[in-house]
């Protein structure tokens, strides 16, 4: 349940604005890949092209290719809806559906995908997904309560449970801890370590310690100046990026001597 991603010569646009230019990279299955770089360099933009969420924004488009196990996600006969069922996503701000109970939140994606599911299957899936997101013990007595009543960290784990309930191959996370306190952040980081046994994880983070703690590979993005496109500067094993990066810009950034 994890697949490899190959990106080739990807240019990403908002209308006429070239936001990210010429990205090529390989993301290994069952590993955690972190994207780091200064704000505005296109980390979120690039991440959202990996499950075709980028094109949800009016005027947004890409050229180049993103292959999942050799299948181009941007091929003519590929349905973006199907892509998003295979490549799940967790957002920067926790976004459980406020009108749904905790249980219904977990099942939201599943009910879209194969509509009918028996009560016992649903119960099982809710439990396994919430356990998978390390949330089960905290919410098992209040599954029918609204998800918006949980703490921020719990809500984010609920969103992770919701994402893994549809059994994706890849889970994308865009700064999943930036709205959370340190304890909740640690809980999510532990969870990421567990998730990588089953899924390919890609995480955007502005926190270099976090990248160093959770990821196996790290990609550093940078931007030459405002209005210029963001670029992938280098990508390597996380230990290498933080100890002996090949590029000067990477070294400046990871050592905090940036800008």
């Amino acid at each position: 349940m994890a697949q490899r991603i190959d990106v080739k010569d990807l240019n990403i646009y908002y209308g006429d604005f070239l936001a990210v230019e010429g990205v090529s990279m390989t993301i290994d299955p069952k590993s955690v890949t972190a994207f780091i770089g200064p704000s505005g360099c296109g980390k979120s933009t690039f991440l959202r092209t990996l499950n075709r969420m980028h094109e949800v924004i009016p005027g947004a488009r890409v050229d180049g290719s993103v292959e999942l196990e050799g299948v181009d996600l941007y091929g003519d006969d590929v349905d973006p809806v199907a892509v998003r069922r295979t490549v799940g996503m967790v957002f920067q701000r926790p976004n459980p559906f406020p009108t749904m109970s905790i249980r219904d939140n977990v099942l939201a994606g599943v009910k879209l995908n194969n509509k009918r599911i028996s009560k016992s299957d649903a119960d099982e899936l809710v439990e396994s997904s919430l356990r998978g997101a390390n949330l089960w013990n905290e919410v098992k007595d209040r599954l029918e309560k609204p998800g918006s009543g949980l703490s921020g960290g719990q809500q984010q784990r609920l969103c992770i449970a919701r994402a893994i309930a549809v059994k994706p191959q890849v889970v994308l996370m865009d700064e999943p801890c930036s709205a959370l306190d340190p304890i909740s952040t640690l809980a999510i980081e532990d969870l990421i370590q567990e998730l990588k046994k089953d899924y390919t994880i890609v995480i955007v983070t502005h926190n270099m310690q976090q990248a160093a703690r959770v990821s196996d590979r790290t990609a550093f993005f940078n931007i030459a100046g405002t209005g210029k496109p963001g670029r992938l500067i280098e990508m390597n094993d996380t230990a290498t990026i933080f100890s002996s990066p090949a590029e000067k810009a990477t070294e400046d950034y990871v050592s905090g001597r940036f800008g």
Binding site: R84, T99, S101, A108, G109, L112, N113
Partner: protein, 334 residues
């Protein structure tokens, strides 16, 4: 703030009784303070007007409520053949609710559809054109709707009613009567539906547009199609707003006078024969049709029916609030 001494920083020459400062912040000055008076004043004025209307309706309706049956029928307060006020008010309330409910049932789904189309499907240019047309619809006076409904729509739509009545012919215990003039409650309800469409559409559109992108994207990222996204994120978010919109429409449909007056061939019966003429009447249209030539107790009778309309409108609004409040826990306000 707690002292009643003249504050040292108060500017001289300004009307500012020190005692008034107690419940306002020290920083409240000049326009801010005037503005508070204006808002408080308007709020109080609104309540006053409401109370005045209620007092008027009760005071002037009371003679009709307390009059004996003999007086009522004798002095021409009631239409001939009626013995108590309830014989009149009952069917009128029934007719009013029936017309307004049918209008709402017709208008709300269409309004939601248009609002969703404008907010989530249409290209920007088309959306603004449609929005503009809908707003224009709201600006048409109800007399014009009445003329159009009575002259143009009624003869045409009566064919549809005849057809529906034919289809319903299989019902064993009920014969569906239908008039060829089209001057029936069904036609009036269709026109009422058109009249309440703009307000329901406009409010629903605003609510749908306010759906947080966060929740729309959450649904899309789970692999929702556009319609599934609307069902999981937009509609639940907009639910209470749509109910409020529908209630605004219901309020307008309940009170609409001219269109009903000019379309409906009235009767004062408890009747579900919505395709027939001479069956039902609404309160507002009844009052308008009688008020000019009414005198004495008849006026009190009309005002009593007006009181009934007032009460219905209040109950409808409170019901709507209760519905909206019941799901507050899930509203996403936190």
């Amino acid at each position: 703030m707690t002292t009643t001494d003249s504050p040292p920083d108060a500017k001289p020459g300004r009307l500012k009784p020190p005692a008034r400062r107690r419940n306002s912040g020290d920083t409240e000055r000049g326009f801010s303070r005037v503005f508070r008076w204006i808002t408080t004043g308007s709020g109080a004025f609104l309540l006053l007007v409401l109370a005045a209307v209620a007092v008027f309706l009760i005071a002037r309706g009371l003679p009709a409520l307390t009059a004996s049956p003999d007086e009522l029928s004798g002095k021409g307060g009631l239409p001939t053949g009626m013995n108590s006020l309830w014989d009149l008010v009952g069917p009128l309330v029934f007719g009013t609710l029936l017309a307004a409910t049918m209008a709402l049932l017709l208008a709300t789904p269409v309004a939601i559809g248009i609002a969703l189309f404008i907010s989530h499907y249409a290209p920007r240019r088309a959306a603004s054109v449609i929005g503009y047309v809908i707003d224009l619809l709201a600006a048409i006076p109800s007399v014009v709707f009445g003329l159009w409904g009575g002259r143009t729509l009624a003869p045409i739509i009566s064919d549809v009613w005849v057809w529906i009545a034919g289809v319903l012919d299989f019902l064993p215990f009920w014969t569906v009567n239908v008039t060829n003039t089209g001057r029936s409650l069904a036609t009036a309800s269709v026109v009422l539906a058109v009249m309440v469409l703009p307000i329901i559409t406009a409010v629903s559109r605003e609510v749908f547009l306010q759906t947080p992108t966060l929740h729309e994207e959450a649904a899309l990222a789970l692999g929702a199609t556009r319609w599934e996204m609307i069902r999981t994120a937009v509609l639940p978010f907009g639910r209470s707003g749509v109910i409020s919109a529908a209630m605004l429409g219901l309020g307008r449909a309940l009170g609409e006078t001219m269109a009903v007056l000019m379309i409906l061939s009235p009767g004062i019966l408890y009747s579900f024969q919505i395709f027939d003429s001479g069956q039902q009447q609404t309160i507002a249209a009844f009052i308008a049709s009688r008020f000019a030539e009414a005198s004495g107790l008849a006026v009190n009778v009309l005002i009593a029916t007006g009181l009934a309309l007032f009460v219905i409108t209040m109950v409808v609004n409170m019901g709507a609030r209760a519905i909206v409040a019941r799901r507050k826990e899930f509203s996403g306000a936190n």
